[in-house]
Point group: C2
Chain length 196, copies 2
DNA sequence: TGCAAATATTAACAATGTTTATTATATTTG
DNA sequence: CAAATATAATAAACATTGTTAATATTTGCA
């Protein structure tokens, strides 16, 4: 039954679309079985005909947001020259995107995955996101001979841990306590990181 | 009324003690108004005679855990010589403590503070924890002339962001997916960090 | 058209946070 | 000491949310 599959997928997108809009605009706190379903135009119980549970649905938004986030970053940094500078710009752009949409930051890094459907696959998508976008430029650095392979493996991860740590303190603990201070801290940390 | 105050404080400790035990043993997921109150030996409504709400009570555990954590770290690293090595050992100990008690990690860095009582004060306690324990040893490094003041300010924070980022991925996203890999990653990151 | 299967919805339940009203206890005062 | 009053503890009740089961509705097709 081809038609059945198509219709089912279409139904899913209605719910996912609703969840995405709410995540971007209001964050995870605004999402519950009833609110998402009503925004999708259905009763709350209908959600369970298409998703194992709410957690499952929420994490299906990750893929879409990653695509959108990647496009947003690439558009912003297209004029930066390849290599180290580009990694720097991509990283800053990524942080800015996550600051602009705190709900997406929560989804990527904080929300409990419980028994989400493709838990392993999705968490790996998140863990490798920055590396995937930067891969080419790390290779450029290696080719230029300004850093070696072993160092790259360490510094790639270090960079991701650094920005996630900063974001956790800012979003969850209000440290630093305003946006300007945060950006200034981010810049000083990134400048320092890229001194090699 | 001095007696009244004493009694009130004693009552509070019953609830806080119950919450602490549960946090350490089972994590935040095990805590709710009813479970904490029953463990403290009272009805769930009694909790509201002593705390604004559950969130408030939970964050009153932070101070105690910080003290305990500090004692645990200092005991473990007492034989390491002062300075850079000590900062390294303290940091590793801190991570090990947070891995041993994931509920405390959650409390320190992930749990939403909503309208917790001394929100500002508590989040600052958490943000500055590592710096406070390491302060003396950063000063030793400065005195030895192996690093300057400006660098210290940046690297202190960088170190904290690094470990919190790692812990977020490990606890929330199961990356890396087992303890041994995590420790190996931690060691490689710390070794790299302390190369100066 | 009428029936079987698929789909959607309503009703209901369980868990949890919180408030209100009531009961039990302690303290003060005449 | 006993009555009046304040204080503390509790039970009952309500709201929100996730989830399931039973019921109603729609749809595809013989």
């Amino acid at each position: 039954m081809e038609r059945k599959k198509i219709q089912e997928e279409r139904m899913k997108t209605y719910f996912i679309q609703a969840a995405k809009e709410m995540l971007k605009a209001e964050g995870i706190k605004s999402i519950n079985v009833r609110s998402v379903s009503y925004r999708a135009g259905y009763s709350y119980a209908t959600l369970y005909n298409y998703f194992k549970d709410l957690n499952d649905l929420i994490f299906l938004c990750v893929r879409d947001f990653q695509d959108e986030c990647e496009r947003s970053i690439l558009e912003k940094i297209k004029n930066i020259s390849d290599g180290k500078e580009k990694i720097h710009a991509i990283t800053k752009s990524y942080v800015e995107y996550l600051i602009e949409y705190p709900g997406i930051f929560e989804l990527f890094f904080l929300e409990k995955m419980n028994n989400a459907g493709n838990k392993k696959e999705i968490s790996e998508l998140i863990y490798t996101f920055l590396d995937r976008i930067c891969e080419k430029h790390w290779n450029v650095c290696k080719e230029k001979g300004i850093i070696n392979s072993a160092q790259v493996e360490i510094k790639k991860k270090q960079l991701y841990f650094l920005i996630v740590g900063m974001l956790v303190f800012f979003e969850n603990r209000n440290q630093p306590s305003n946006y300007e201070e945060f950006i200034s801290l981010l810049d000083s940390q990134l400048d320092n990181f890229f001194e090699w």
